[in-house]
């Protein structure tokens, strides 16, 4: 069966997380992705872990393998005239180019000719392609800082914090994949591609629209909540015997009697706890009542028994919990990549679950330059020419 993006030809420059993840989402659904890497060095993700047995190997980086399965790798020195000419040749047959080389960097490559009109070019950068900060250096933490998310995350009496990993870069990749498909659909109709410009600052800013609206329409400037104030009533995590659970109060408040029954805590049924206002005023007292009951049970017990009572109760799951989750296993969410260097690597497969796409059996992430010879042959480069290009460090 033809997959959703079968036949769409994508060239990826830059790599890292954002562009590589955007291209992976296209590859997940069937697109052909050629990943262009620097000769001898490759994508920066190859240097990032995790590595099997913690032993660094640019062919076995867990991050690289996750972001780049189902792709082909071509090495090319884009700074050289000949490298750029080969890229231009590659693009004559491509539908999409996705890159995160930095604002303006793609336009500075020494192209011999203009781009094919049908090509969609998607650029992801820290602050976007234009504007006073377009040339600024960026990283995950500056996206969180400039996008307004960081100021409101953490504890009011401590420093702002960001989400733990590289959420902004992943989200930028997801946005890229949508924008690309829309542009490709339009190009099929009009024969013309377009430029897509994604800013990681904006990617983060969109996620705090409730806080932005609170200022623009009421003047309220949100800040990190005081964390000493944690309580069930504030939907803050509560300690279980072996970790944390999240009692979502918006739900618990609706089913308060069940909550009392679930915790075997009849005191919660007292008159003063029966209204939202009453509970808010007695937040600390409620925590004193329920805290010990949470603390003596495991997070898995609280999670599953709570859900059996119809409560919005969940465990704060660790990566270990997630890796061993029977629900994800049954849905076939984790797929195995058989990699020649890293061995069997288990990682999330395509999202969502649908009959249109086989989640399992991805081809492994490519070795550095694994497909250089094949791709250049497809472009009509002779074997002798390939030797010369290799010796010159162009591929």
């Amino acid at each position: 069966m033809l997959w959703p993006t079968d036949g769409i030809r994508v060239v990826e420059l830059g790599g890292g997380i954002s562009a590589a993840y955007g291209a992976r989402l296209l590859a997940d659904f069937g697109a052909t992705v050629i990943k262009v890497e620097r000769p001898g060095v490759g994508d920066a993700s190859r240097q990032a872990g995790p590595f099997p047995d913690d032993s660094p190997d640019p062919e076995a980086s867990g991050r690289f393998l996750y972001l780049n399965h189902r792709k082909r790798s071509l090495t090319l020195d884009l700074e050289s005239q000949e490298g750029a000419a080969l890229l231009a040749q590659l693009l004559t047959d491509a539908d999409v180019l996705i890159e995160n080389l930095g604002a303006g960097a793609f336009d500075r490559l020494p192209f011999p000719a203009s781009l094919p009109p049908r090509l969609t070019v998607c650029s992801i950068s820290p602050y976007g392609q234009d504007g006073p900060k377009a040339g600024y250096a960026g990283s995950e933490i500056t996206a969180y800082a400039s996008g307004g998310m960081m100021y409101i995350t953490g504890s009011g009496d401590r420093e702002p914090v960001k989400h733990g990993l590289d959420q902004a870069a992943h989200l930028a990749g997801v946005c890229a994949s949508s924008a690309i498909l829309a542009a490709v659909m339009l190009a099929r109709r009009t024969g013309r591609g377009q430029r897509i410009d994604i800013s990681e600052q904006e990617t983060v800013a969109q996620t705090i629209f409730p806080a932005l609206n609170l200022y623009s329409h009421l003047g309220g400037v949100m800040v990190r909540a005081p964390i000493g104030n944690t309580s069930v009533v504030n939907s803050a995590p509560m300690p279980a015997s072996d970790g944390w659970v999240m009692p979502s109060y918006a739900g618990l408040g609706q089913w308060w009697d069940s909550f009392a029954g679930f915790l075997e805590c009849p005191e919660l049924l007292e008159e003063r706890f029966q209204t939202p206002d009453g509970r808010r005023q007695a937040a600390e007292e409620i925590d004193e009542l329920v805290g010990p009951r949470f603390a003596e049970r495991t997070k898995a017990d609280l999670f599953h028994t709570g859900q059996a009572w119809g409560l919005t109760m969940t465990a704060v799951q660790t990566p270990a919990d997630i890796a061993n989750c029977p629900h994800l296993a049954e849905r076939g969410f984790f797929v195995e990549q058989q990699h020649p260097v890293a061995g069997t690597v288990t990682m999330p497969g395509p999202i969502p679950l649908t009959a249109g796409v086989d989640r399992g059996h991805p081809s492994p992430a490519p070795l550095l330059g694994e497909h250089t010879e094949a791709i250049l042959a497809e472009l009509g480069t002779s074997a002798e020419e390939l030797v010369r290009l290799r010796n010159a460090g162009i591929v």
Binding site: P4, T5, L25, P50, G62, L65, D130, Y136, E140, I141, A145, S146, M149, I152, T153, R158, V161, H163, G164, L165, Q167, V174, S177, S178, L181, M185, L186, Q194, R195, I196, I198, Q206, I208, F209, A211, L214, Y215, H217, L218, V221, M222, A225, S235, P237, S248, G251, T314, A315, Q317, P319, A323, P326, L328, E330, R331, T346, I351, P352, L353, T354
Partner: protein
């Protein structure tokens, strides 16, 4: 930016022109998944019912003023539902279900976020929709998905962020797990992430339909879309048996990385150093040669090992400086740095203004006092596809007659019958949309707000209107 009072027409061909989407969803995730598709030209028909209005309709009232029919003016509702049409159909009534299926027959996509059992109870499963229209695409957006042992579990926003592992890795090493954004009040990261996967899935299914001639059911689980953003930690667990933990702002490879307090109340600058060269540039630019003379800090691994010592020196060097000034100083030498912007700062950010990230949306005709108000545009810019708002979020049931006449050639008699039977309705049932204002004073006293700016409306309009 002009303070236009009229909405622009369509300037060029839009990618999704001719695609009709029926949205039966409320609150954040599902409407948000459809927002970009509406912006790109799809005809999005939002289906509500007298007993089931979108709860976000009344979420945040402009200027904290309770207006008559306030459910038509909720701020978040406006953010999420621009460029959509609004109709009412009571799907729980047989005549409502039949009417909906007639719309399905002339639509391309149905997007819903019921809990899994509801779709079955309503008789609107994918099989039932496909029987009417084999080309229909159904997006089901739910906490855990429609299969698997947990599919009936409940998941409110805080639950998703706790199950998907994001909370576990967010926060201080000596503190509890933390939700992004003021305990989730100001932000909905997993909602936005879940939504964006939904957007992409619909576009992909439309593409696949071009190739195979039929639609499909997209079973989107927010649990899974959250895990996709922490995949490395799961891979690390499999490879090395390691379970990642909270590390505040530290980074696995970059060092130093963190936030440092500057002058002013609760003002901070964030910075991140990727190489020895950048570290030297930072030390020189901030005038702290001690960083360079100390051999402990000469290598990346040394800076990781002695991170607290490096942090203390940088903190002392910027404590008496302005955050924006430190940002400019470091960026001038190529070091990634940014003042930590408050939500207010975001509105006044020169970069975002230059890029037209905000637009002023004109007020509804019947409530001109609301005035033109700023909203975000989609988080991507397409060079040939305008993203300006073409129409405001719909009033409750605003387009019921228009849509049913246009799509189903429905007659006056039929409309009257449907109205009499309560299948369509002009207003939400009494009490179905909560009314209320925000208690900003209490939020201030509880330190959930940094401040309340009385001049917000004028200053933001001035800022966005100025050249």
């Amino acid at each position: 930016m002009t303070t236009h009072t009229e909405l622009p027409g369509t300037a060029g061909p839009l990618p999704l022109e001719g695609i009709r989407i029926l949205e039966i969803g409320m609150v954040f995730v599902l409407p948000l998944a459809i927002t970009p598709l509406a912006a790109m030209g799809a005809d999005v028909i939002k289906v509500e019912a007298q007993a089931r209005p979108d709860q976000v309709r009344s979420g945040l009232a402009p200027d904290n003023i309770l207006r008559e029919h306030g459910y038509n003016y909720g701020v978040h509702f406006q953010t999420l539902n621009r460029n959509k049409r609004g109709i009412t159909i009571d799907l729980s009534k047989p005549a409502g279900r039949e009417l909906f299926l007639r719309l399905v027959a002339v639509s391309d996509v149905v997007a819903e976020n019921f809990t899994p059992r509801v779709l079955k109870n309503l008789g609107l499963t994918y099989e039932e929709l496909a029987a009417v229209n084999p080309r229909i695409i159904l997006l089901s957006s739910s906490g855990y998905g429609h299969t698997g042992p947990w599919h009936q579990y409940k998941a409110y926003g805080p639950n998703t962020e706790s199950v998907d592992g994001l909370m576990h890795v967010t926060g201080y090493p000596d503190g509890p797990p933390i939700r992004g954004g003021a305990g989730g009040l100001g932000v909905a990261f997993t909602d936005v992430a879940g939504a964006m996967y939904g957007t992409y899935a619909i576009l992909a299914a439309l593409e696949q339909r071009e190739r195979i001639g039929r639609g499909q059911w997209l079973d989107l689980s927010h649990y899974e879309s959250g895990v996709a953003t922490i995949a490395e930690t799961v891979i690390d667990y499999h490879m090395n048996g390691r379970t990642a933990y909270r590390r505040a702002n530290r980074h696995a490879s970059r060092a130093p990385q963190g936030v440092y307090q500057t002058t002013g109340h609760d003002r901070w600058v964030a910075l991140s150093v990727a190489s020895d060269e950048e570290f030297a540039a930072l030390a020189t630019a901030l005038g702290i040669p001690d960083l360079l003379s100390d051999q402990r800090f000469a290598t990346l691994s040394g800076r990781h090992e002695h991170a607290e010592a490096v942090d203390a020196i940088i903190a002392a060097a910027v404590a008496d400086r302005d955050a924006v000034d430190v940002e400019a100083t470091l960026q001038a030498v190529g070091v990634a740095a940014s003042a930590v912007a408050t939500p207010r700062d975001v509105w006044f950010d020169a970069q975002l203004k230059h890029r037209g990230f905000f637009e002023l949306v004109p007020p509804p005709d019947e409530a001109p006092d609301i005035g033109p108000r700023p909203h975000l545009r989609p988080a991507w810019k397409l060079s040939e596809t305008p993203s300006e708002t073409r129409s405001r979020a719909p009033r409750f049931g605003e387009h019921t007659r228009e849509v049913l006449e246009e799509c189903l050639q429905i007659t006056e008699d039929e409309l009257a019958t449907l109205e009499e039977a309560g299948v369509i309705a002009a207003e939400p049932r009494q009490g179905m949309v909560a009314r209320g204002t925000m208690d900003l004073e209490t939020m201030l006293s509880e330190r959930r707000l940094r401040e309340v700016d009385p001049d917000y409306r004028q200053s933001i309009e001035r800022h966005l209107s100025s050249e």
